[in-house]
């Protein structure tokens, strides 16, 4: 009864119906004829039988209509869904192919019942032909379920090929006997293409990242050598000939040494930046309290020299790399100490939970800055002050802080006003804490 769904008319959908109606009509006619020749008593019985038969016929017609209705609905669904459905008998004969499956099963004409020519079906590598006996439908016919099988199909009507995700299950009769198999195909070409494009982009990005890190390392390392030669030989010149070349020459030598040392610092910073948040990050629960204490311990001299008052509220446990988080706090506190005002420096560290993030703030009472610069200061080698004596350093600390925060999936920002101190804040995901 089931066939290709494309062109079947409604009248053919229930081929048994007209025969059944004929039988019924015949029976009614016989009964009618019989009624004329029998005594009234029997005639009544026959009339009852006729009535019963008519009711039965009515019931049958109703059942038939319902069945036809259901079949029509099912057929409409099968005709309209983008999912390909194929049903085959135990012997591999196709019992049903819906329109979505047609392009893939190569059944163009309804009459063509034989198994189609082996299709261009390939394994994941898109070149190895898929073994016929391993095809999902073939497995289903053998009584196996085959789920989530990815197939690559290529045909002259779609030479670029398409990706199909196939699920096949055995088809059993009510008594459990194996009748055949059902295979369902979904076209996942677009999804696959998007995933491939994404993978390619990720690979390109990772390659360019690696190249960049390699570059930073090589450049920094290889730049050190000639720089060391310049700095050292100028110093040697000074040591050996300083009194013989005159005051001006001594001043020039001092400039050269200073320039070389500053370049050395820049290179060191560049190296530190390229290393920050790179490689073996260990993500563990980190007690920020302990990490801040370690950072303050490292800054002990700077804190004492500036007579700074550092207060720390109770801080949360966040997930991250302990040594990088220590570096983060250290850089922020160091920055706060460096850009202090005339008053005794006061630095306050506190944390607040906002939705699914911890927001941790480092607030100072330092010189502050124009809000116009609060984004720019996180860029590598960005400095706001020309006075290198008072505000030494190359401006790498905040860039490293930003890199560390971002490698932890967080954000960092700064709010500030000139003369009113700055607040550096970073948000880190709580990871369901």
């Amino acid at each position: 009864m089931l066939n290709t769904m494309q062109s079947k008319g409604k009248s053919e959908a229930a081929p048994g119906r007209s025969a059944l109606v004929n039988v019924q009509n015949k029976a009614l006619q016989i009964l009618g004829d019989l009624q004329k020749d029998v005594p009234p008593e029997q005639g009544e019985q026959i009339a009852e039988a006729v009535q019963a038969l008519k009711e039965h016929a009515e019931g049958l017609r109703h059942f038939d209509d319902t069945l036809e209705d259901q079949t029509h609905i099912l057929r409409s669904i099968l005709n309209s869904i983008p999912t390909g459905v194929v049903v085959a008998s135990k012997t591999g004969e196709y019992l049903l192919i819906n329109p979505a499956a047609a392009p893939y099963t190569n059944i163009v004409q309804e009459e063509q019942r034989d198994r189609p020519e082996p299709y261009g079906v390939f394994m994941l590598d898109t070149t190895t032909p898929y073994p016929a006996e391993e095809m999902p439908l073939a497995r289903a016919i053998r009584g196996e379920a085959a789920t989530k099988i990815e197939l690559f199909v290529r045909h002259e009507s779609f030479p670029a090929g398409r990706w199909l995700l196939c699920d096949a299950v055995p088809l059993t009769a009510e008594n459990g006997a194996l009748r055949g198999g059902i295979a369902v195909y979904n076209d996942i070409t677009e999804r696959k293409k998007a995933a491939q494009a994404l993978a390619r982009r990720a690979e390109a990005l990772s390659r360019s990242n690696q190249e960049l890190e390699q570059f930073a390392y090589v450049a920094s390392h290889d730049l050190q050598e000639p720089l060391r030669m310049v700095a050292s030989y100028v110093q040697l010149l000074e040591l050996k000939y300083s009194k013989k070349m005159g005051e001006e020459a001594d001043q020039y030598i001092a400039y050269i040494v200073d320039g070389a040392k500053r370049m050395h610092d820049l290179i060191q910073d560049l190296l530190a930046f390229s290393r920050a948040g790179k490689g073996n990050m260990t993500f563990v629960p980190v007690h920020c309290d302990a990490v801040v204490q370690a950072a303050l311990e490292n800054l002990k001299t700077a804190v004492e020299d500036s007579k700074a008052k550092v207060t720390v509220d109770k801080l949360p446990i966040i997930t991250g790399d302990p040594s990088q988080l220590r570096q983060l706090f250290q850089n922020l506190v160091e920055n706060a100490l460096k850009y202090r005002g005339d008053a005794r420096p006061e630095i306050h560290i506190r944390a607040e939970k906002e939705d699914s993030e911890w927001v941790i703030q480092v607030r100072d009472n330092g010189i502050g800055m124009d809000p116009a610069y609060t984004k720019r200061i996180f860029r590598i080698f960005q400095r706001l002050h020309e006075d290198r004596q008072q505000y030494s350093g190359s401006g790498i600390g905040l860039a490293i802080a930003k890199k560390i925060v971002e490698r932890h999936g967080g954000r960092i920002w700064c709010t500030s006003q000139p003369g009113e101190g700055s607040t550096f804040a970073f948000a880190m995901p709580t990871f369901g804490q």
């Binding site: 390392h221 050190q224 060391r228 700095a231 050292s232 110093q235 070389a260 050395h264």
Partner: protein, 151 residues
């Protein structure tokens, strides 16, 4: 010629300016050491093994090895020295401008006796060499060469 110095150092360094700088720093530090310079790992090994034309080379008391050498780099140099029973007791200090963790770790894993980052500041370099002298020539005791051929 080895008689006039209390100790000898073999410096493996391909950059002549760098080698000259080390020689100057040794002079400024007032070290009483003879400095031999090899500009490659190959030459250093030939000198250490007294292969031609270095049959009369002296056995150094300390080797200063640059990490970035052409062809067979410093890593291979330290590996080869430490695998050679005749040479492995000679202290090898890596001198490098790199502070990179892998460079430092590799050096120690190959049994270098120390890793020293070359200071940019000349005076610091002089100080470093003075400290090296005090430690390796005065503080620690080293075994005699295993082969009596070495004088």
């Amino acid at each position: 010629m080895s008689e006039e110095y209390s100790h000898r150092i073999l410096l493996v360094e391909d950059n002549p300016a760098d080698a000259e700088l080390t020689a100057e720093a040794i002079r400024f530090a007032g070290l009483n050491v003879g400095l031999d310079v090899a500009n490659s790992v190959e030459q250093a090994l030939a000198m250490l093994r007294r292969q031609a034309p270095y049959e009369s080379a002296s056995r150094p008391d300390l080797i200063l090895l640059d990490l970035n050498l052409p062809r067979r780099g410093g890593r291979e140099g330290v590996r080869e020295i430490k695998e050679d029973p005749q040479l492995q007791t000679i202290p090898v200090l890596i001198l490098s401008s790199s502070r990179a963790e892998p460079d430092i770790r590799d050096s120690y894993q190959l049994h270098a006796n120390g890793y020293v980052v070359k200071p940019v500041d000349f005076q610091e370099f002089v100080d470093v060499l003075e400290r090296i002298r005090r430690f390796w020539f005065e503080t620690v005791k080293l075994p005699p060469p295993p082969n009596k051929d070495w004088s």
